[in-house]
């Protein structure tokens, strides 16, 4: 595995974590403003597009998806997902210090666990170079095959 992370790539990961969390939050605020939607009147969901926070939420989620795909083009899935989960912590902290919501001890435990997980994964390499693995496998296989041939000939 190799580390190919640059400052710009860390910024893409930040865009992934903030885009998803803030996008969901904006959609939530907008849909609460709109009220419950009946399953028989799903077309009324189109009216939600008039609500500014819903539009901002959709734009943020589009930005999240573009950043997520970009991140997956140069980093492993098993690196990107834990590394970007810190967005959940950001939302919880915003809820506590901006919206003055109550954060229970279980949620603080969740924040601690995610922070530890993110800290662990971001210290390691971000990308598995399959070409190197394949060539290493071949190098390991060729001597083994050679020794087999030697044993058979003996």
């Amino acid at each position: 595995m190799q580390s190919t992370m640059t400052f710009r790539r860390y910024m893409v990961l930040v865009a992934v974590m903030l885009g998803a969390s803030l996008g969901d939050t904006c959609l939530g605020i907008g849909m609460k403003h709109m009220g419950p939607v009946s399953i028989h009147h799903l077309s009324s969901l189109l009216l939600a597009l008039r609500i500014p926070s819903v539009l901002i939420g959709i734009l943020l989620l589009i930005g999240f998806f573009a950043s997520y795909l970009t991140a997956l083009s140069w980093a492993d899935l098993s690196f990107v997902l834990p590394a970007t989960s810190f967005g959940n912590v950001v939302v919880a902290l915003l809820a506590k210090f901006w919206l003055h919501e109550h954060v229970s001890p279980a949620r603080w435990a969740g924040i601690l666990l995610i922070t530890v997980g993110v800290g662990f994964v971001t210290q390691g390499p971000s990308y598995t170079d399959h070409s190197q693995i394949d060539s290493t496998d071949e190098e390991a296989t060729v001597p083994a095959m050679a020794s087999n041939v030697k044993e058979q000939s003996v």
Binding site: M1, Y68, L69, T70, L72, S73, W74, D76, L77, S78, F79, V80, L81, P82, S85, N88, V89, A92, A106, R107, A109, G110, I111, L112, L113, I114, T115, V116, G117, V118, F120, V121, Q123, G124, P125, T128, H130, I133
Partner: protein, 129 residues
């Protein structure tokens, strides 16, 4: 109050997790096949990069799986509490993605990544409850 969760709810959570994992794996596989997005954008521009993504069959199937997962979540929420379905599916998806990354995408999921996946999965579960 009855706090037992019926097998059908766990089945729905399982469907959400499987489809979300399939979506993530297909998207990751598609982006690995396409190559570094920044390099493509530098050579072919943003339009060329977007076209390369949209033409990829794995990407399209990945988006389809994500959509099915999302509608499974909505369906599950009409049957069970959001305080169970959302954290359980989100936390389990982190673990199944680590397995899928190891066995399907052949990523080098070392002990550090396993530990991170378990920590984050548990953390999301606690945070979302």
């Amino acid at each position: 109050m009855n706090h037992t969760v019926s097998p059908s709810v766990w089945l729905m959570i399982g469907a959400i997790v499987v489809m979300a994992t399939a979506g993530d794996v297909l998207l990751a596989s598609a982006m690995r096949q396409i190559g570094d997005f920044d390099d493509i954008r530098a050579h072919a521009g943003l339009g060329g990069a977007v076209a390369a993504v949209l033409k990829n069959v794995r990407f399209l199937f990945g988006v389809l799986c994500m959509a099915v997962s999302f509608f499974s979540l909505l369906f599950a929420l009409s049957w069970a509490d959001v305080s169970l379905v959302a954290p359980a599916s989100a936390a389990l998806t982190f673990i199944t993605n680590a397995f899928a990354a190891k066995w399907i995408l052949k990523e080098n999921v070392d002990r550090r990544r396993w530990f991170a996946a378990v920590c984050v999965g548990a953390g999301v579960f606690f945070l979302a409850r």
